[in-house]
């Protein structure tokens, strides 16, 4: 069967039988780099298209439908347009930081890819502290955003960056606590172990109400962390023009835009991995026949399906809830989500210790 695992193995064996090991290793490194760049570009293009189509469906209109069938080449055309635009640097801006900020955001988005398991045994690096690594790296992206806002020499940018900083920093806590509850149930920080522990059922089903609560908190927190509506105070277009990337144009703006969508993909991938079993097919207890049928669906399809489902959920939020005010947002986190997630973590650890899960 042709799965991603087999393809990587075939490439590995072919390279090692034709070249000496050093060249083979170098070629593999280059292939990983090229593959991750391709994944970035494809994800950016398809997620922006998906966002616009979902928005169109929600508002009973057509959405992009001119370039290519169903408008699928619309985002490619937009990228080409952005490539032809002049990248302005405003007068009096801190040129070095202004140029550095998109790089930081992109590097952070790329580095988070390392421990994510895209399919069975298909992972760039199985770090034994995977979950800690994910939360450590993902909290670095706020530095890029603050840098962009500060260096732009524009008041809108500065306000947007400050809001974004407060927001990302606050919601990191409850996101971290809800992730911890799955770590408590699994007893491991490695992404691989977490997925393997869900062989007989996903955590969201196995661990009853506590897992459900932590999933809800997780999805709220990551929506805020990626600056998505209803928590998009950082770039609230009706009050701050575009927030921290007001002064960015051309390719630098495209990089910010791309990183935003990549971040959505990544947080949804983390959510799918922790709560919905990553690439693990849906198995129901002792229904042998059902489980066998589910096993026939390739693991990469399972992973992508779950991730895109969660992305759809986050896009749905945008057209369902009105935007909050910044003080309401901070109240929600500090007065409700943080105490609830702390209490929920204790409840989850009680469930884990007593073995009250399936």
């Amino acid at each position: 069967m042709l799965s991603l695992e087999n393809i990587t193995r075939i490439i590995h064996e072919w390279l090692n039988s034709h070249f000496n090991p050093a060249i083979a290793l170098d070629t593999e490194f280059v292939l990983v780099g090229v593959a991750s760049i391709t994944l970035f570009a494809l994800l950016g293009l398809s997620l922006v298209w998906m966002e616009r189509k979902v928005a169109a469906v929600m508002q009973i209109r057509l959405g992009p439908n001119r370039v290519g069938p169903k408008g699928i080449f619309q985002t490619t055309a937009d990228t080409l347009k952005l490539l032809m635009k002049e990248g302005l640097v405003p007068d009096g801006a801190d040129k070095f930081l202004f140029n550095l900020a998109p790089f930081i955001v992109m590097i952070v988005a790329m580095l988070i890819l390392a421990p994510i398991a895209f399919a069975k045994n298909f992972q760039i690096w199985d770090i034994n502290i995977g979950v800690l690594y994910l939360s450590a790296i993902s909290s670095l992206s706020v530095i890029g955003i603050l840098m962009a806002g500060w260096a732009s020499n524009s008041k809108y940018s500065l306000l947007g960056a400050m809001r974004s900083g407060a927001q990302i920093v606050s919601y990191e806590l409850s996101a971290g606590l809800s992730v911890l509850s799955i770590v408590v149930l699994t007893g491991s920080l490695s992404i691989k172990d977490i997925i393997l522990s869900q062989q007989n059922g996903w955590w969201i089903f196995k661990a009853h109400i506590p897992a459900l609560i932590s999933f809800i908190i997780f999805i709220i927190a990551v929506t805020a962390e990626t600056n998505r509506a209803p928590f998009d105070m950082a770039e609230a277009e009706s009050e701050l023009t575009a927030g921290f990337h007001t002064e960015y144009s051309g390719m630098r703006f495209a990089l910010f835009f791309l990183a935003e969508y990549i971040n959505i993909f990544i947080v949804c991938a983390i959510g799918a991995t922790l709560f919905f079993g990553g690439w693990m097919p849906l198995h129901i207890g002792s229904w042998q026949a059902f489980n066998h049928i589910m096993d026939y669906i390739p693991s990469s399809i399972w992973f992508l399906g779950k991730t895109i489902g969660l992305i759809f959920l986050i896009m749905w939020f945008r057209w369902t809830f009105p935007r909050l005010r910044i003080d309401q947002l901070l109240n929600l986190e500090w007065k409700y989500l943080l105490p609830i997630s702390m209490f929920n973590l204790l409840l989850t650890s009680l469930v884990a210790i007593m073995g009250w899960y399936f």
């Binding site: 990983v32 760049i37 635009k85 998109p102 800690l132 809108y156 920093v169 606050s170 806590l173």
Partner: protein, 116 residues
């Protein structure tokens, strides 16, 4: 792949971003214009610099965040081991969280979580 993959991803991100910016710089011939470099401010000429003091309403949130973030890092090793250690570990973390939560309530009472 080992830790080297992080270097590869790092280089890939830099190549991707720098490549995009470089291509657009080659393709685009920009024109000079004194109005063009102005930072955006509703269309009227910008007044004053944004780099001055302004009231950050969430200054105290940052301090409380620091405490809770350290707590979160402290809880990672605990979370991995709690299933094996059993109830004593749970009781210890309850005591720890209780002390922290009292501090949180104190901050709340003092009005640190109010919008200023």
């Amino acid at each position: 792949m080992g830790p080297a993959s992080l270097i590869i991803l790092f280089l890939a991100a830099i190549t991707f971003s720098a490549g995009g910016i470089l291509i657009s710089r080659i393709l685009v011939k920009g024109t000079k214009n004194p109005q063009k470099g102005q930072p955006y401010e509703c269309g009227i000429p910008a007044t004053g610099s944004p780099w001055n003091q302004f009231n950050v309403g969430y200054y105290l949130f940052a301090l409380i965040f620091l405490i809770f973030d350290v707590e979160l890092v402290f809880m990672y090793p605990w979370a991995v081991e709690v299933k094996q250690l059993g109830l004593p570990a749970l009781i210890e973390i309850v005591v720890f969280l209780f002390i922290l939560f009292m501090g949180f309530l104190y901050a709340h009472k003092k009005g640190a979580l109010k919008w200023m």
